[in-house]
Symmetry: C2
Subunit: 182 residues, 2 copies
């Protein structure tokens, strides 16, 4: 009745009623289903500026990102995006529409990114951020962004900066989220 | 080095670097992270009709649904929606835009539902379907739909039937996906 995912008593089997191989415990039949993970985040606007956080943690420590992180259980995606903005940047948000849904299948990740505004002008770096700052678009450190999807979201939000009635974006054409080392 | 999620050697602890309680193995420190799950699906149109599948499996065996199921690893959400339509209804799709993103936080589920068209007229019930059929809107068995979100998607797709340039829908106002038994 004990099992260790990835351990020697696990093997690839097709469970009853399933149609593909999973890691199954040879001793008790427990199936280790692995699911894609959801990242939730927000482009946080304040006037003409956008809020970015410099990451205090790996991966990509020292690089800039929008507030985002793994969605937790029993929250909505918008609640998760607001939670991440609070945790990483100390800001409360007026949440707008869903800006984008990005797929990064290489790492089995779906990102749900909202368009939001700061509900008040203050901010403060949380434990996962080295610093937090507001940037005009021409001041954004484009070469020091943490992930490709941060650039996608910033480029796309700019197209719909002054309106909320837009079609949710996806990955830019041809983009899969592959990291090119700096 | 062995662990059984939910077993007697697991307890709620806050792992190092984390900020909330998780199920942690007392013996080896393995953290059992539980993540929200992604359901991918499609409203499949053919002319003025929409394709529905009568479920052969629980939950809600015998009730009607759009093709949908859990997203797998290393696929995109659109690929997953196409895969489910193939598995459950034997159809190939011309995938359109993202119709809706639904949150069902009670069961930690996010649903990504696409607007699609049949690429060819045929269909065939897969192993998880009792039958598959095309319905005019006034023939849809509204009282025999499997899940609240099936109704949401059908209501919403009707609003944007003839266009693809629309803002992705969310949950209808006030709707949380709670099941009311039939
Ligand atoms: Zn086992
Ligand atoms: Zn253990």
């Amino acid at each position: 009745m004990r099992h260790l995912p990835g351990g020697e008593n696990f093997s690839q089997q097709v469970p009853a009623g399933d149609d593909r191989e999973r890691m199954v415990c040879d001793e008790c039949g427990w199936v280790h289903y692995v699911n894609p993970k959801i990242v939730v985040g927000a482009v946080c606007r304040h006037g003409d500026k956008v809020l970015l956080c410099r990451r205090a943690i790996e991966p990509r420590r020292g690089f800039w990102t929008i507030p985002a992180g793994f969605m937790e259980e029993r929250e909505t995606s918008a609640e998760g995006a607001a939670r991440e903005a609070w945790e990483e940047a100390g800001v409360e948000l007026r949440m707008g529409p869903l800006l984008a849904v990005y797929n990064i299948p290489r790492i089995s990740q779906v990102q749900l990114i909202y368009k939001a505004e700061l509900a008040a002008p203050g901010f403060e770096a949380g434990p996962e951020s080295l610093e937090v700052a507001l940037f005009d678009f021409d001041e954004i450190p484009w070469d020091e962004l943490a992930f490709p999807s941060v650039r996608w979201a910033l480029d796309q939000v700019r197209e719909v900066w002054d309106r909320d009635d837009f079609a949710t974006f996806g990955n830019p054409p041809g983009e899969t989220g592959r990291m090119t080392p700096p």
